[in-house]
């Protein structure tokens, strides 16, 4: 279908791609895997010729015996959306918010074909139904904001396949979606490839997604394809050390030493949190959305407790309530025996710290690291005299050198920032750390390191973790006990291994079922033994 030959790309002075060669076969799924910055997306954008302005490309991209890189912009416009469709990672922002979904799907048809608007509308209706948005439930006059993330991604797919392109490029199409939605979208893509005879270039950081989807896999590292081949043999052999490292990191379980005691330090009893919704009537009480419905659990000293659930299930709201950032409408949260609320003693607040998901947005960019890490000291009223020494110690604990103190946060990578966030949480020697999707934005290799760090810190300081995540494999690796949350309620609770190996609630079963996994029989080499051929 399309063949990449020695494709190299530089943007400004940065070398982004180096001699990438890849054959995308017709009617097959080609997986492109790698960590962020490995050049996966840039490879896709090179095919689409949608690169940033300062880019310089060399090599060849062959389609029908001609080189795409030599085509004019006008020829490319005729190609994009027509013979090559593309969908992106962020369905929430990938659609124009001020145009209806019908118009947006129709547009692909109208710009490439001579269809009348009525004909285009008919095809758009058909295609939207094809991707699971039948008109009776999802009229073409809907706006993107009236749809969920998964539904929006379906609209994007409908737009991309409206003209039945020969190649569909899907750049992390499910990364922003919940695990059950991800499974549905992947199913849809699989069906489309089978029924429409389309090629799919699937770009993802998730080895398990590729394992379940692709016929052919290429592994990228630092702008180069380090290994490629048919999926199953490649996974079984894992010849290249980077492939192996990536695989090991993705299923990494840190060595943990149990520190859990029976001493409860945080109890949540029948907690209820309501949000007021926009009024629908002028008089009378505003309607409310109950985000947390009578949730009860206990966190023990030194314990690692997981809280899993899909987006919107109320897990972050619950976390914020535990931190005292949101009032409860009923029920109670007690930390160290004191009820959480406006009257919660400041000195005890030092005992609960938090690490959030976004390693980029959770720091003041104008402060130096020393001041960022020392910030929680204001809970103690005055900064202790030895604060610099303590900041240095906390940074050392998370594996960041003391010279970081005089630097600004933009000088650090995502993984380093998350370590600094953990240092900030550690500085007051808390007993509880709430980790709200703390490793979700990190690449697998960095994530493995941060998980190790968390395990080490727990063993050293006897910390209790409330580990909130949508990622089941991570929760399984790092927690003793797990709570499964759905629509504001805890539907299942128990020892982590027991819940994962024998889930009792249908929702937990569905979550575990939907999570992509590399087939167990492919993992023969896991303990360093090469398979006998």
């Amino acid at each position: 279908m399309i063949r990449l030959e020695d494709l190299s790309l530089t943007i400004g002075k940065a070398e982004i791609l180096r001699r990438v060669s890849l054959d995308i076969a017709p009617g097959r799924v080609t997986g492109l895997v790698g960590e962020s910055g490995s050049g996966k997306s840039m490879t896709a954008l090179s095919i689409m010729r949608l690169l940033p302005r300062e880019s310089r490309v060399s090599g060849r991209i062959i389609l029908d015996d001609s080189n795409i890189l030599e085509k004019s912009e006008r020829q490319m416009c005729a190609l994009r959306g027509n013979r090559i469709g593309m969908i992106f990672q962020e369905p929430m922002t990938a659609l124009n918010p001020v145009k209806t979904i019908g118009d947006q799907v129709m547009e692909t048809l109208l710009i490439h074909t001579g269809h009348s608007p009525a004909e285009a509308r008919e095809i758009a209706r058909e295609k939207l139904a094809r991707v699971g948005l039948p008109e009776d439930r999802f009229p073409l006059t809907r706006y993107p904001h009236e749809l969920s993330g998964g539904q929006r991604q379906r609209v994007c797919i409908a737009m991309a396949i409206a003209l039945s392109p020969e190649l569909l490029i899907a750049d992390e199409p499910t990364t922003a979606l919940d695990v059950t939605t991800q499974a549905q979208i992947l199913d849809l893509l699989r069906e489309l490839v089978r029924e429409e005879g389309m090629s799919l270039l699937l770009i993802t950081h998730d080895l398990a997604v590729v394992a379940g989807m692709a016929d052919h896999v290429a592994v990228m590292q630092k702008g180069e394809i380090v290994e490629q081949g048919a999926t199953e043999p490649l996974f079984r052999a894992m010849r290249h050390p980077y492939t192996k490292a990536l695989f090991e990191a993705s299923s990494h379980a840190p060595a943990r030493r149990p520190t859990a005691t029976g001493e409860a330090i945080l109890t949540v009893s029948k907690a209820v949190r309501d949000y007021a919704l926009p009024r629908t009537r002028l008089i009378g009480p505003a309607p409310v959305f109950r985000a947390v419905r009578s949730v009860s659990f206990t966190l023990n000293k030194g314990e690692s407790l997981g809280l899993v659930g899909e987006s919107g299930c109320g897990k972050s709201t619950l976390a914020r309530a535990i931190l005292g950032l949101e009032p409860l409408q009923a029920g109670e949260i007690r930390a160290f025996g004191q009820p959480m609320g406006p009257g919660f003693p400041t000195r005890l607040k030092a005992g609960i710290q938090v690490v959030f998901q976004d390693p980029y947005g959770s720091f003041n960019p104008r402060w130096k690291v020393a001041r960022l890490v020392a910030e929680p000291f204001h809970l103690m009223g005055t900064r202790p005299d030895d604060w610099r020494a303590r900041v240095a110690r906390a940074l050392e604990d998370v594996g960041i050198g003391g010279d970081a103190m005089e630097r600004y946060i933009h000088e650090f990578s995502g993984g380093q920032r998350q370590r600094i966030a953990i240092a900030r949480a550690l500085i007051l020697k808390p007993e509880i750390i709430v980790l709200d999707e703390a490793v979700s934005a990190l690449d697998v290799s960095v994530r493995a390191q941060v998980l190790d760090l968390l395990a080490d810190l727990q063993a050293e300081y006897g910390l209790a973790y409330l580990f909130i995540s949508h990622d089941l494999s991570v929760v399984r690796a790092i927690t003793d006990r797990v709570l499964v949350m759905k629509a504001g309620e805890i539907v299942e609770e128990g020892a982590t291994e027991a819940v994962f190996s024998a889930p009792a609630h249908p929702y937990t079963q569905a979550l575990i079922e939907a999570a992509p996994a590399i087939p167990a029989e492919w993992k023969v080499h896991e303990h360093g033994q090469a398979p006998v051929v």
């Binding site: 689409m48 994009r80 469709g85 990938a94 659609l95 124009n96 737009m159």
Partner: protein, 317 residues
Amino acid sequence: MARYLLTRLLSLGLSLVAASLVIFAVIEVIPGDPASYMLGLNATPEAVAALRDELGLDGSLLSRYLGWVAGMVQGDFGQSYTYRVPVAELIGDRVVVSLPLALLALALSTAIAFPVGIVAAARRGRAADYAVMGATQLGIAVPNFWFAMLLVLVFAVRLHWFSAGGFPGWEAGVLAGLKALTLPAVALALPQASILARVMRSSLIETLGQDYIRTARAKGLSRRLATRRHALRNAMIPVLTIIGLQFSFLLAGAIIIENVFFLPGLGRLIFQAITQRDLVVVESVVMLLVFAVIVVNFAVDLAYAAVDPRLRRGGRR
């Protein structure tokens, strides 16, 4: 949509009531006696009493307020103390100058700013963009009265294309009226256009960086078509906000330009009324301007909803 309209209308009504209360309180209630203020320090007690009687200051606060509001609703703004004519007549004479001037200036400013802002955004970081940024910087920095005098020197004194000032009245013909308003409108529009072009540029640049523009390009739209179909409308919200503010400003804030060109506009009227302590006129003109601003804001709110479907249900972006 109906609910959105209703809430906006409700807020419009409440704003008007609140504004009228504040204006009434500031002028009639707070600093002692309006009559002795209007007449100055040397007024005789008899004169003050006569004026109090004329202004109806002896009634209760409530009845005075209600009377004032009821009068305005019927178009009766009272009698000017200095001019001895109904205020409504004074305002009417001035509005026919100020409103066309403001509209003309706004139309000019928009007509200049849109293409300029769009070109700058589309050619970001290139020569055209730098030229626009430099020119608009200058446009904002140059004081408009100085620019107005320059216009007079070139187009009136030297070239004789326009008169140097004054307003012949619309009785002299629409063309003559527009001709008299052209130079003042240009002088007013220049800084406004500069600001608006910059807002347009930065808003459009931000919008062009959005994911849905990339999606549109992946569908096969050219850069130009993607800008026109997907970016422009999304970039309009901040632009509309600025247009609303500019119109409100142009309506009453043209006082310096009105003075340079000897135009009998609202700005000069209120300036004269303040210097002559004609509180009746001040009160009414201020209320009228507040009314205009509130109505403009209402129109801008409606424009937001027309542009962005997410706002139609009373939500926020």
